[in-house]
């Protein structure tokens, strides 16, 4: 990044190549749409380039990058003024079709004792569980799980305190546990909204923005 700051085009090219897939993955989970995620990733790289002079050598580049990504994604979600929607097409979304949530709601209303522990289905269930988290919980989980970032670095990227991140991640993981554990144990597909008790939603901030 120091080379980028000093105007090296090759270094910038390498940064893009190195981080693009990771960035797009995080953004895709944040906004729910691949195409939008790629657009936002380009916006993030543009901001990195424009503010390269402000980069401080003691900051980790990944932290700085995901700070910008967080701002860009938050702004996009605000502009959309709605929860991110999933628009994966059928071929990409596996056996649950293009609207996995609808399918899951229907399926969970009837007993499916012989349901196989299908890998594609598992992926969709996990995906859905992630989408059920609020944006902050989701980002904290993604940075922790896939970027291997420490609480301190996530705190910097999300402009929160490490203690807030600790609480945020604990709530996020509890939410995931409540959604995914019944599926793991008994093959029970989670239901939208009412899988968790109201108190759980309230206490864990599930799918709400009041996660602090």
């Amino acid at each position: 990044m120091l080379e980028v700051r000093d105007g090296s085009a090759t270094a910038f090219e390498e940064l893009v190549v190195r981080y693009q897939a990771r960035l797009v993955r995080i953004l895709e989970h944040m906004v729910g749409r691949r195409e939008l995620a790629e657009d936002l990733a380009q916006e993030v790289f543009l901001r990195v380039y424009r503010s390269r002079q402000q980069y401080m050598p003691w900051a980790k580049f990944a932290t700085w990058l995901f700070t910008i990504a967080n701002n860009v994604a938050s702004s996009a979600l605000r502009d959309g003024s709605r929860r991110p929607e999933v628009t994966l097409d059928g071929s990409e979304s596996g056996p649950l079709g293009s609207r996995p949530m609808d399918w899951l709601v229907q399926a969970s209303s009837s007993e499916m004792p012989t349901r196989q522990f299908d890998k594609a289905e598992l992926r969709d269930v996990v995906q859905m569980a992630m989408e059920s988290l609020g944006p902050r919980q989701r980002l904290a989980v993604l940075l922790n799980k896939f970027e291997g970032m420490s609480y301190a670095d996530i705190a910097k990227a999300m402009e929160l305190s490490p203690q807030s991140i600790k609480s945020l991640l604990a709530r996020a993981r509890e939410n995931l546990r409540q959604l995914l554990e019944p599926y793991f144990e008994d093959g029970i597909l989670p239901r939208k909204n009412n899988k968790l008790s109201d108190s759980a939603v309230a206490s864990n901030g599930l799918a709400t923005d009041s996660e602090e």
Binding site: L46, R50, V141, R173, L176
Partner: protein
């Protein structure tokens, strides 16, 4: 846990969960970790929660990461380059005082030149082609002049011994206006068309930018080592054209200091990959033709299509076959998924015969789509070609006179990169400015 439950069970549970999660994430120190382990050993609820939190965390591994699309890197870099160029333009626009000062100096220069240029201007007014002839050396080097920007850059390239290999420097002859006229009259259609296009672009520049290019030309011409500078400039131009759009934009970045520009050139020279792809010389052209012929004869072209291609005029057949070949190669390259930096030329917009990048230059096949003058003369008049050339001579395609034989005129390399089988001679475009006196 039992002790804290007596106070606030919900709060205690939340606290425990935070500690368990932090333990799983490796965020606790040694002492804290030991406490959690001891607690999990004696409390079944804590142990179960720990296991479940860990298990559901592992399930997130199912969220696979899809690679980004092949074009993503290129489009990202191009977008950033364009934005950087726009920023530079904006920065330039917010310096009105300096610009005004520049204009004043330019105006002063023009006033000074007015006296000495009077005779030249008089002749320009009486001859509709005179302006073009007068600017001919500039127009023929229009692209290189825009690329090098300043004579200091050329001097720095020389000082760094960049682009000085194979120094086949030949002294250039000074042409009189009549020699220039004769040379233009003898130009074949493509160089002439390119010359007229360069003129159009040059006239579209601001007076300041035109003056800057004229000044650069004058400085090079008056330099003691002008032939060396010119050879360096031409080699730099050839190399520049092999660069992908993003790098071209970086090389043209006017915000950079001279030192930074040279550093960028060195950096790109050192970098392996598409930047090192040589321009399409005769050998490459022959190879491309050979590939096209092989493709034409391969099973990729069915008999019906082969007959159709054979029924087309040479140019059309070549273009059609080239397009199919590029599409085929692109498809092949996509299925092979080469790593970034080693993509087939088409993906960088540099496939021989393919469209150019963002610098506005085009390969001939695009002319039909984009050039409003295609199929017409400079002002849409093809039938006037007999009038256009006062001598009435047909285009000879001979090497231009007044130029060293070893150095092609710069416009020639921008002509079509093709030598199709049985290609008919291209028609010579006419030009209204280039008309009979």
């Amino acid at each position: 846990m039992k002790e804290s439950r007596s106070h606030d069970p919900a709060n205690d549970e939340t606290k425990l969960r935070e500690e368990l999660v932090a333990y799983l994430d490796g965020e606790l120190d040694g002492e804290q970790s030991r406490r959690i382990e001891q607690r999990a050993a004696v409390e079944p609820d804590a142990r179960r929660m720990l296991e479940e939190l860990d298990r559901t965390w592992q399930m997130l591994d199912e969220l696979d990461a899809r690679p980004t699309s092949e074009d993503f890197t290129c489009t990202t870099l191009e977008m950033v380059a364009l934005a950087a160029a726009a920023d530079a333009q904006k920065a330039k626009a917010v310096m009105p005082r300096r610009r005004l000062q520049g204009r004043l100096w330019a105006a002063a220069g023009l006033v000074g030149a007015a006296a000495t240029g009077f005779l030249v201007m008089t002749s320009l007014i009486s001859d509709p082609n005179a302006q073009l002839l007068h600017d001919l050396p500039i127009l023929e080097n229009f692209d290189p002049y825009r690329e090098v920007e300043s004579i200091d850059f050329l001097l720095a390239l020389n000082a760094e011994k960049l682009f000085t290999e194979d120094a086949d420097v030949c002294p250039s002859a000074v042409e009189t206006l009549s020699q220039r006229r004769q040379r233009v009259e003898e130009m074949s259609a493509e160089p002439l068309d390119e010359l007229l296009r360069s003129e159009q672009q040059f006239r579209a520049l601001s007076p300041q930018e035109q003056q800057r290019i004229r000044d650069l030309h004058d400085k090079i011409e008056s330099a003691t080592d002008r032939d060396i500078l010119r050879a360096t400039m031409n080699r730099y131009d050839k190399w520049f054209e092999t660069q992908p759009p993003f790098r071209r934009a970086m090389l043209l970045d006017k915000k950079k200091t001279l030192k930074d520009r040279i550093a960028t050139v060195k950096e790109f020279l050192a970098k392996q990959g598409p930047a090192k792809r040589p321009p399409l010389d005769d050998k490459n052209r022959r190879e491309l033709d050979e590939q096209l012929i092989n493709f034409f004869e391969s099973s990729m072209i069915n008999d019906e299509e082969r007959d159709r291609l054979m029924s087309l005029p040479g140019d059309e057949m070549y273009d059609s076959l080239s397009k199919q070949y590029r599409a085929y190669m692109l498809k092949q390259s996509k299925s092979a998924k080469p790593p970034h930096g080693d993509r087939p030329p088409g993906q960088h917009g540099h496939h021989p015969g393919g469209p150019r990048g963002s610098d506005g230059r085009r390969w001939p096949e695009n002319r039909d789509e984009k050039d409003p003058r295609a199929g017409k003369d400079f002002k849409g008049n093809q039938e006037k070609s007999a009038q256009v050339f006062p001598t009435g001579k047909p285009p000879t395609g001979k090497p231009p006179t007044g130029k060293p034989p070893t150095e092609k005129p710069p416009t020639e390399k921008r002509g079509p990169q093709k030598s199709p089988p049985e290609k008919p001679a291209a028609k010579k475009p006419a030009s209204e400015p280039w008309k009979e006196e």
